[in-house]
């Protein structure tokens, strides 16, 4: 016989923000069903949790119009990072900045070291990247990319500038008509998409993931990567093409 439902738990952080659909908990941590909840409320509730609890135990399941796909594939942590970044932009919140720093700076350092930067320089550039985040936070648009993706582009550009001593030729978005970019209120769905992309990345065949990783971490042209792998350049290119097609289809109807 199934055990009866546990009594609902109402977390004060949620109630304060007008969220009352907190239904149940389970052994693994709070399990929360949220129905038609404004995104801002989700984010601020999660922030409250980031500040008060171990967020790795916080696994909400979103139900409702914008997120019918279950389970939510994007790590909750990543969504919380986006919320922290918005908080930096909107409130110049140093505690939120420190939380972002703790998560991303060591990863940016690792990224730069994988590309051959000495540890000291990688750390300096990681700090510069986070400083850039602080200064440009108002430009972050969660409808277009996650905090991780945005920081990846910042770190990539800093590396080109500081290590390769070149400029990166950049587009100006005002040069073309606005494209079918998702509207801001679809950011939650987009966050899901990015989560599915990452899940799909993990499930690529090893030979495909290898050429993708080398593309990002080896700082070598694909012709060189082909030589080192002992395969023709055409094979590297076809692996990349297959991998990108697979990742694109993981995003379903995304352009």
């Amino acid at each position: 016989m199934m055990p009866g439902p546990k009594p609902p738990v109402h977390h004060p952080a949620f109630i304060k923000r007008g969220i009352t659909h907190v239904l149940s908990t389970n052994q693994a941590g709070p399990r929360i069903n949220l129905i038609h909840m404004p995104r801002a409320a989700v984010e601020s509730a999660m922030l409250a949790h980031v500040q008060t609890a171990d967020i790795s135990r916080f696994r909400p399941v979103f139900r409702g119009r914008s997120s019918v796909r279950l389970p939510m594939t994007r790590p909750t942590e990543a969504l919380a990072m986006d919320a922290l970044l918005r908080r930096v932009a909107e409130m110049r919140d140093r505690a939120a900045f420190a939380a972002l720093f703790g998560h991303f700076a060591p990863r940016i350092k690792a990224y730069l070291m994988r590309l051959g930067a000495p540890a000291a320089q990688a750390e300096d550039l990681a700090q510069d990247a986070m400083l850039n985040l602080w200064r440009k936070a108002h430009l972050f648009d969660p409808a277009k990319a996650s905090a991780a993706t945005w920081l990846f582009t910042i770190a990539r550009n800093l590396r080109i500038d500081a290590i390769r001593r070149e400029k990166r030729p950049q587009l100006d978005p005002e040069d073309f008509l606005p494209e079918a970019e998702p509207a801001a209120d679809q950011a939650m769905a987009l966050a899901d998409d990015e989560g599915r992309l990452r899940a799909a990345l993990k499930h690529l065949p090893p030979d495909q993931i290898a050429v993708i990783e080398q593309s990002f971490f080896a700082d070598k042209p694909h012709s060189q990567i082909a030589l080192e792998l002992g395969i023709p350049l055409g094979t590297v290119k076809s692996r990349l093409r297959l991998a990108m097609a697979r990742l694109k289809s993981a995003l379903g109807d995304m352009p």
Binding site: P75, R107, Q127, R156, P169, L240
Partner: protein
Amino acid sequence: MRHSIHHHPDESLLLAYAAGGCDEVTGLIVATHMAFCAQCRAAVRLMEKVGGGLLETLPASALSDNALAATLARLDEAVPVSPAPRTSSEDGTPEPLRGYLGGDLSRVRWRRMGPSLAYLPLLKRGAVSAKLLRGAPGTEVGTHSHRGLEYTLVLSGGFSDVTGRYGPGDLQVADHAVRHSPIADPDGDCINLAVTTAPLKFENLIQKIAGPLFGF
């Protein structure tokens, strides 16, 4: 930009741009193609998300103890230099090409190279160089093959060769396997952005001699 684009950079080239692996000259032609091409802009956005995903999965590399404090202490520093104010284009010349030209395509001061061809050196990094080329209607560039790669992006007008027809926004990538004699469309000037990673191999004697003088 209403012309539909048929010739795109391949995944390898787009990924090199997205991952930050390609040199500045090649980046210039890829990004200028993207200014014409929503499909490749979307592809690069997807690749950047892959970069974000990879960043997220990297094992953290420990920072020195005072890293956070040192960064927090810098948050109130004055922001160094603000970027130059955006200049708009009168003839639709997109960035990043506009920035490298220092203005619009219609104001380029061309250098003549024979009766029907003009050019302008734009950027050079090692052996990789970018030039603007303008051919009068019907101009034949001359049969050549390639020691390295030749990227040709049509900015206006169009040209044809054995591999097909190229219009505004189309990017041709020719390697050592390609021998061609591009001919500009008969109905107007053809303006291209061209990047080469090694000098071209012309077959006509005069071009063999003249090519290197003009940096081809």
